[in-house]
């Protein structure tokens, strides 16, 4: 599983940092940053939920 983000689309809702804090965080501007680009399978459910609930569709996952 590979995680990518589009920071310029991010609206800083912070859903990802709350739902999948091992994989996503917010920088000082409040925009999404990825902590692990290839998280383990045990984190898949949280990542997929974060992707689904992202209001600006800034998160993507492959594989």
């Amino acid at each position: 599983m590979r995680v990518t983000t589009e920071q310029d689309r991010c609206v800083g809702s912070g859903q990802c940092a709350m739902l999948s804090p091992e994989v996503f965080d917010q920088d000082d501007a409040g925009l999404v940053v990825v902590l692990q680009q290839e998280p383990g399978e045990d984190l898949r459910a949280g990542v997929l939920q974060a992707v689904d609930l992202c209001p600006s569709r800034s998160l993507h996952v492959e594989g």
Binding site: G12, G14, P21, Q26, A29, G30, P55
Partner: protein
């Protein structure tokens, strides 16, 4: 089949009227389910002026509309589906709130505020929010029941929290709570509505001017400071933003607190489960947010281009109401949507905070406030019960944000 507004001649009288009322406080308006099933993107006439608008009722379509950059939130555009009457001359003078701005202005102003609401910042606010809630619960216990939970707890908690965050003196709360409530009331005349907005803006204008000269440790001061270099807003923009945050921080959370307590009192087995395992609380809050979806007013849009939603073509210039309350009762996402179930796995997919670039910036703050209030009540007043029958309660059927006017409780 593709249809459009031009295909069928319509008069206000032949169309369903919007807004539609809830017949039960725990349910969506009855018409929503029928529309979702038979006519998920359909026409209605706005009660306020008889003009037609599109109602979007399925979860998938509401997300699609709110995520589409080809729709605008600008209430000055012809076709924007207004929910209360604003005379043309007043509309021309209205300064747009962030809620009604589009990119790039919206993006610039929102980005100034995002750092104030990150997951980390909200976590840092938790201890102070707990203190505020404990003080109010102490006062309730000292006064003894019965008390009105709305005035004793539901309104003061978010009011104190948003005042501290913004740097607005809480001692003035009686005034701006009155103005805030007036702005949410559909029954007011345009003149009364305008007067409330003007009074609050004059108050905030003085406050912002004060902070321009003597900044404090608060959101408005930090916004002003950053704006010196970013220059995304003028003085009036800052006043307008402060109004949006103050009013937005009051009505919504206060109404959710009171309705949520009512719902838990009406579902004692789910309340007992929460008392036994407070770890269930975050999920329960998502479910309460979903069931009540207290406002269908923040998601009005107007199409900038022709867009297709669910096989229907919405023409450029036509108004759209993406009904989050209808989306949150979509049975294809939330089976048995009318049933409150704090264990519901998919509850977090609700759209009670909206969706897209305008999704409520205070959502995570609201979640912490709700969690703190419900958690504290369950722990400290386990014998809480209604001191009135549900049929005696008055619900905000006509307001922009749904709620209950008073909630008498005792223990």
């Amino acid at each position: 089949m593709t249809q459009s507004a031009d295909a069928t001649p319509e008069t206000g009288a032949s169309l369903p009227q919007f807004p539609m009322r809830r017949t039960c406080p725990f349910s969506e308006p009855r018409e929503y389910a029928e529309m979702r099933a038979n006519d998920p993107v359909s026409r209605a006439a706005l009660k306020v002026n008889g003009k037609p608008a599109w109602l979007v009722t399925r979860h998938e379509h509401v997300r699609q509309v709110l995520g589409d950059s080809r729709v605008s939130s600008n209430l000055k555009l012809p076709g924007y589906p207004h929910q209360f009457h604003i005379p043309e001359e007043m509309l021309a003078q209205v300064r747009l709130m962030m809620l009604n701005m589009d990119a790039p202005e919206h993006t610039a102003q929102r980005r100034m505020l995002i750092p104030e609401f990150t997951a980390r910042r909200i976590k840092e606010m938790r201890p102070r929010i707990q203190e505020i809630v404990d003080e109010r619960v102490d006062a309730m216990l000292a006064a003894g029941g019965p008390v009105d939970l709305v005035t004793a707890l539901a309104l003061p908690v978010p009011s104190l929290v948003i005042c501290e965050l913004l740097g607005v003196p809480y001692e003035d709360h009686a005034q701006f709570e009155q103005w805030s409530a007036a702005m949410m009331n559909h029954d007011l005349s345009p003149a009364e509505y305008g007067a409330a907005v003007q009074a609050l803006d004059m108050y905030l204008d003085k406050l912002v001017t004060l902070k321009e000269d003597e900044p404090g440790d608060d959101l408005i001061s930090r916004f002003l400071e950053k704006n010196r270099t970013e220059q995304v807003a003028d003085h009036v923009d800052v006043v307008t933003m402060a109004r949006l945050m103050l009013v937005g921080g009051h009505e919504t959370t206060a109404n959710m607190i009171a309705l949520g307590v009512l719902a838990l009192l009406q579902h004692p087995e789910q309340m007992a489960a929460l008392q036994a395992d407070p770890g269930l609380l975050p999920g329960a809050i998502e479910e309460l947010l979903r069931v009540f979806s207290i406002s269908d007013s923040g998601t009005a849009r107007v199409a900038l281009e022709d867009i297709e939603v669910g096989g229907v073509t919405i023409r450029a210039g036509e108004g759209i109401l993406a009904l989050n309350n209808a989306a949150d009762h979509d049975e294809s996402v939330f089976p048995e949507p009318g049933r409150l179930d704090i264990h519901r796995k998919e509850a977090r997919s609700h759209l009670a905070f909206g969706y897209g670039v305008h999704q409520c910036i205070g959502a995570n703050l609201a979640r912490v406030e709700l969690e703190t209030v419900y958690g504290t009540l369950l722990r400290r007043i386990p014998g809480l019960r209604l001191a009135a029958g549900q049929d005696e309660l008055r619900f905000k059927d006509d307001a922009m944000v749904y709620g209950v006017y008073e909630l008498p409780v005792t223990w």
